[in-house]
């Protein structure tokens, strides 16, 4: 017996007797003999709690977390400080262990939190409707595409090359099954240049700020989409929205993005949550759960899952999405985080990042062999072009305990030695100064080497 099951030998005997069979095996009679395993699975024996703990701790110790290096890596997920009160609330079993609130009478906690979350997302995006969460960022882009497809039935997506590479690839994976084409709009000077939009275009998808950190002319892009009768979809991280013109203000139809930065830990990429906000017009096409306010029979305020006729458990093959289990706990962390920041705090935090980012960008650009990849305004992340092999530079920096950023070459062959540098509120000036020093030395050393090699 494991420590998680409770049936003692005596229990088993009594229970089998009550069922009227004489062995547990008899309960599996429906399984054809030929399919029954004759040997145990090849998984080894069970372990004690401390042994499992020790094993997992040893594995974890082989990773370099943001506590083990000074990390300037962002590129879609960011090392923000997660306040302790989030853990303290989300670890309460009442939030941690129930499932989707199918029984609203005993799920008001989760339902109200969803409602609050939706409100906060509407505030950030400037859009009137939000669902209660989707899986995460890139699949949210695909989900937005699915709404566009159903809305106008057109056959093409135009997606900016400034959208996160994972989002672009995820969209492509889906679009293929929908028989749709995906066209990439190139970047020039760091920002999106749209091709001519014909009336095959279902949606124009951009990211704000884009993957290279640049703030896009969201309104212009949106207007262009609308002029072609397409939907305007904006992806992005919600935190910079504290300062930037919101998607709603810019006329965007659907705003989606990765919610990790709102109080969720990095977790090597998940679980986090995706947000999905849209206009009133698209309300009935939204994927996923939505919480709505209502009253009980005594007139008391309460919340329920609503507009369920969109959903798979009601509409089955006609549902607006197949999503079922989403990311409720992560979205809860999101709304707690936003309450913790508050109306003033979110601006203070974002402005702090803006200032430190400007400082870092300025200082790094002064280095020999380091150029800004574009000159557009940025909030928390910016791209550099190194005049040295980026992988070799990275290796040198890592040796000094500095992870200087995300090399762009893999996703953007046109920026072979590009480096994307993120500055969250976790990165102090001292750390930035150290980055400048270490990166400067690394680039210099690599340029020296290259010159030598060329000389030789």
């Amino acid at each position: 017996m494991s420590s998680y099951t409770s049936a003692t030998d005596a229990d088993r005997r009594e229970m089998l007797a009550a069922i009227g069979v004489d062995s547990i095996d008899a309960l599996f009679a429906d399984i054809p003999e030929s399919l029954r395993l004759s040997a145990p699975l090849d998984l080894g024996p069970g372990l004690s709690e401390q042994e499992v703990y020790d094993e997992l701790r040893a594995l974890a110790a082989r990773n370099f977390s943001t506590e083990d290096e000074v990390s300037f890596v962002g590129a879609g997920m960011y090392d923000h400080y997660v306040p302790a009160l989030i853990d303290s609330i989300t670890s309460r079993s009442e939030f941690l262990t129930p499932y989707t609130p199918y029984q609203p009478e005993v799920s008001q906690g989760g339902l109200q939190a969803m409602f609050e979350y939706q409100t906060a997302i509407c505030e950030l995006t400037g859009l009137p409707v939000s669902n209660a969460s989707v899986y995460e960022g890139p699949s949210a882009v695909a989900a937005a595409g699915y709404v566009a497809k159903h809305t106008n039935g057109r056959r093409k997506f135009v997606i900016s090359r400034g959208v996160h590479p994972h989002s672009r690839e995820t969209l492509r994976t889906h679009a293929h099954a929908w028989g749709m084409e995906v066209v990439e709009a190139p970047l020039k000077d760091g920002v999106t240049v749209l091709p001519d939009l014909d009336d095959d275009v279902s949606a124009v998808i951009v990211q704000q700020p884009n993957f290279l950190g640049a703030v896009e002319d969201l309104e212009g892009l949106s207007d262009a989409a609308h002029a072609a009768g397409a939907l305007s979809i904006c992806a992005g991280d919600p935190l910079p929205l504290a300062l930037l013109r919101s998607p709603g203000e810019c006329g965007v139809d659907i705003a989606v993005g990765e919610g990790q930065t709102l109080g969720n830990r990095l977790d090597f990429g998940g679980p986090s949550f995706g947000f999905f906000a849209t206009t009133q017009a698209l309300l009935r096409r939204i994927p996923g759960r939505i919480s709505g306010e209502t009253r009980d029979v005594e007139g008391k305020r309460g919340f329920v899952l609503t507009l369920q006729t969109r959903e798979q458990h009601i509409r089955r093959e006609k549902a607006t999405s197949n999503i079922c289990t989403a990311q409720a706990l992560n979205a809860l962390a999101g709304v707690i985080y936003l309450s913790w920041l508050g109306r003033r705090g979110i601006v203070e935090l974002t402005e702090l990042m803006l200032q430190r980012t400007a400082y870092a960008r300025g200082r790094l650009a002064e280095l020999d062999g380091v150029e800004p990849l574009h000159d557009r305004p940025v909030v928390r992340e910016f791209a550099l072009a190194l005049d040295a092999p980026v992988e070799a530079v990275m290796a040198r920096c890592l040796q000094e305990g500095i992870n200087p950023g995300y090399p762009l070459g893999g996703d953007y062959p046109e920026h072979e030695n590009g480096l994307l540098v993120a500055i969250t509120e976790r990165r102090t000036r001292a750390e930035i100064d150290r980055l400048v020093e270490v990166l400067g030395a690394a680039v210099a050393a690599e340029r020296g080497r290259t010159l030598q090699e060329v000389g030789a």
């Binding site: 009442e94 609203p104 109200q112 990311q327 200032q355």
Partner: protein, 497 residues
């Protein structure tokens, strides 16, 4: 009462101008004018009206909200198809280790060897459990795994130059199955169920033609019944060149006992938040890894975690992007790693024997509960939908109860709430009238099952005397029955600010 009235305020309604929880770290760089960094035309006109509240208020607000939830650590939660089993506390501890929780997803593989090795080992274990050689951990939940599976099927057929248009799903299927089919660009064709609750083989045979890309099956089915003709079904499907997809939501019944791969399934998804104890979080997060056969492998999503032996015989784990026939990504990064940590810890804690014990006790508990309900005389009003030994869950029909006692399944469910028990899944599967799908799971004690049986019996007794009590239930919950129709008719989806 003041405390209760107050409990209904939202965090936005608690806001007071000037309150705060956040204190900003000191600005330690030379301050530059905002306009210089971000021109006014790029900036939003109105700041987001987030709540202004202090830390104590936030804590109290959400603490109180939490008490308006029923949860697994409080009471019995036999929500069929959801496997509401105990969530071991160790898992939260190991998932929170900084080496896991603070690991950036784009950390270079050579600096994330522990994480990659964990993923590789989990792939390996899931592969063994499924009886299929390859695993992708990428999908975010069960239905995401389904989507992956159907897209893989498409890629597989396209690779062979075939163009298929239909996917078969039994009429007992979970809603995500047909929804997935549509989303993957196929047409849904329903397959019937026979009098014993099994797939109607004749109907299947009639519908299985070369336009069919896939049959999606749950086994045990959503009726809690193992499909005894599974081998024949597999043969029919394979004969027309279609794939056989295994919806793993019910895997908790058969771990270590038999394997989808051995049954002939080509693609399997796991719900790590069901069989493998990821806490359900009020509706996620979960994870929906898939296991596939050799012929499907080339199409698996990118990247895959692989194990490589370096020339110096040192083992290295890597992310393999070089998969030219891959369907591509389904999401960002490497999947829900935090969930993987928990599931891996679970598999290590239990080992082979423990996992088998899980399924044995899950099935024992379900059959015992069914027997106990019968012993309480409940079957007069709530008969089992199919008179068979069940697997880890079973379906009752509330039709006689509705007829005789004038209370519906919904009323029974609501009355259970007054007894401190979470109701089973109701009105699913659709096939069964006034259905109740009961899944006790292996982590519940016999005492809890006994108690549930007597509570159900008591509610029926009570209904015989006064059906109104159940019809107006619940009576003791923070709110009572809510106007769902009104909510949908005039949707209020956010706080007016």
């Amino acid at each position: 009462m003041i405390a209760a009235a107050d409990d209904q305020l939202t965090i936005f309604e608690r806001s007071r101008a000037g309150r705060r929880a956040f204190v900003a770290p000191a600005l330690d760089v030379p301050e530059r004018p905002l306009d210089e960094l971000l021109a006014p035309e790029l900036r939003r006109e109105t700041e987001p009206r987030l709540p202004e509240v202090s830390e104590p208020e936030i804590v109290r607000h959400y603490n109180r909200l939490s008490k308006r939830n029923f949860d697994l650590d409080t009471g019995f939660y036999p929500l069929g198809s959801c496997t509401m089993k105990h969530n071991p506390k160790l898992h939260e501890r190991v998932a929170a280790l900084p080496g896991h929780a603070k690991l950036h997803p784009l950390q270079r593989p050579e600096r994330a060897q522990g994480a990659l090795e964990l993923m590789w080992r989990l792939q390996d274990a899931l592969s063994e459990i499924a009886g299929l050689p390859h695993v992708s951990l990428q999908p975010s939940a069960g239905s995401h795994g389904e989507l992956a599976g159907v897209l893989l099927t498409r890629a597989y057929h396209e690779d062979r130059g075939e163009h298929r248009t239909k996917v078969l799903t039994p009429d007992t299927a979970h809603g995500t199955n047909p929804a997935t089919v549509t989303m993957a660009g196929y047409e849904v064709v329903k397959v019937g169920t026979d009098a014993h609750g099994n797939v109607d083989i004749d109907d299947l045979r009639a519908k299985a033609d070369t336009d069919v890309a896939c049959l999606m099956l749950t086994n045990p089915s959503t009726l809690g019944l193992f499909e005894p003709q599974i081998e024949e079904i597999a043969a029919i499907v394979h004969d027309v060149g279609a794939t056989l997809y295994y919806d793993g939501a019910n895997l908790n019944a058969i771990m270590g006992i038999c394997r989808p791969g051995d049954m002939g399934f080509d693609i399997v998804h796991f719900n790590l938040h069901k069989s493998f104890t990821q806490p359900h979080g009020g509706g996620g997060p979960g994870a929906g890894p898939i296991a596939v056969s050799d012929r499907i492998e080339p199409f698996l999503p990118r990247p895959q975690v692989i194990r490589a032996e370096a020339p110096d015989a040192e083992v290295r784990y890597e992310l393999d992007y070089d998969r030219p026939r891959s369907i591509g990504r389904l999401r960002g990064f490497q999947g829900n790693f935090g969930v993987f940590v928990r599931s891996y810890a679970y598999i290590r804690s239990l080992g082979a024997a423990g996992l088998r014990d899980v399924s044995e006790v899950a099935v024992l508990n379900a059959n015992y509960l069914l027997a106990r309900l019968r012993a309480e005389g409940v079957d007069e009003f709530l008969p089992a939908a199919f008179d068979r030994i069940c697997m880890h869950e079973f379906v009752l029909s509330g039709a006689p109860m509705k007829r005789e006692l004038k209370i519906k399944t919904l009323d029974l469910a609501k009355r259970l709430l007054d007894h401190g028990v979470h109701p089973p899944t109701v009105y699913f599967p659709l096939l069964v009238e006034e259905a109740l799908l009961v899944e006790p799971t292996e982590t519940e004690t016999k005492e809890t099952l006994d108690r549930f049986a007597s509570v159900v019996a008591e509610i029926l007794r009570e209904a015989r005397e006064d059906p109104e009590v159940a019809r107006t239930a619940p009576h003791t919950t923070p709110v009572r029955r809510l106007d769902e129709a009104g909510a949908a008719r005039r949707p209020v989806l956010r706080q007016p600010l």
